[in-house]
């Protein structure tokens, strides 16, 4: 699948660890997956088991522990890049980059319902893009439901541009490095 990417490079963004205070006055730290305060995988399984079904998009995160574990297995494989926003030992949010077959990466972010609308999504995505840039990733894309205006404006703010339109979802791309 061919996609258009912006000429302008997004960022630069500071890679993790990134410590910040959210709009509800909580102190959080975005860390690379595997560098959390405990077992990152088990913490994410617990977070996704309690994830609000209304916040699911295009079938993810899946429901039920078995499907959650199988999905997390896929997206935390060695060729994938993940960051987690920690509030003490609770994962308030998670963002991931998963390679496609064309050398680019698909991006998604998830914020636990108690932590939404507090600026955590911006910190997560900037941390992930900073991490991705450091690793050498050039091109990143995502799809988003077309009615999800808050997400679309967040993606736009950090450097994504709209490229494709389906009926239900639209596609956005960003460049992290010059070609």
């Amino acid at each position: 699948m061919t996609r258009d990417y912006p000429d302008t490079v997004a960022g630069p963004y500071e890679p993790p660890p990134r410590t910040f205070t959210d709009r509800a006055d909580r102190e959080l730290t975005v860390r690379v997956y595997g560098e959390g305060p405990g077992d990152d995988l088990e913490a994410l399984v617990e977070m996704y088991e309690g994830y609000d079904p209304e916040d699911r998009a295009q079938g993810i995160p899946p429901a039920g522990e078995e499907r959650i574990r199988s999905w997390l297995d896929t997206i935390t494989d060695d060729d994938c890049y993940n960051v987690v926003a920690w509030h003490d030992d609770w994962p308030a949010g998670h963002a991931t980059l998963v390679p496609d077959r064309g050398g680019a990466y698909e991006l998604a972010i998830f914020v636990d319902s108690d932590y939404q609308n507090a600026g955590i999504g911006t910190q997560l995505i900037e941390g992930l893009l900073g991490h991705g840039h450091d690793i050498g990733i050039e091109r990143v894309w995502l799809t988003v439901e077309r009615w999800n205006e808050p997400a679309i404006s967040l993606y736009h703010k950090v450097g994504f541009e709209r490229t494709g339109d389906g009926s239900f979802e639209l596609e956005m791309t960003a460049r992290l490095r010059e070609e």
């Binding site: 295009q58 993810i60 896929t74 991931t96 077959r101 698909e106 998604a108 799809t143 979802e169």
Partner: protein, 122 residues
Amino acid sequence: MKVLLGVGGSDDSLRALERAVERAREAGDELTVAVLDNPESAAAVDDVEERVRDTLAAADVDAAVRRLEGDPGSRLVDVAEREGFDRIVLGGGETSPLGKIQLGSIAEFVVLNASVSVTLVR
């Protein structure tokens, strides 16, 4: 039930083929398989038709096989409504690298336009 199955050669359409044929054998559906020219699929129409006939023969299911020329989504809806089909069956989309469901353009059109029931096979 009179079922119209659309197959264009994408992976999800081949999965729909397997399941619809299996169900037709168990439930006795009156199955028609429409071979579509899906611009999003690399498979040649002749190869898709051969795959359809092989699958039907292997399952020992008797079904009409026909080609629909032109825009696949609108042709499926048109045939289903004119010829009194109860249901259109289609592949329910591919998944992206990180597991998001991505509906194909044919399924999108059919879901939004068909007045008969639609089954998307996952």
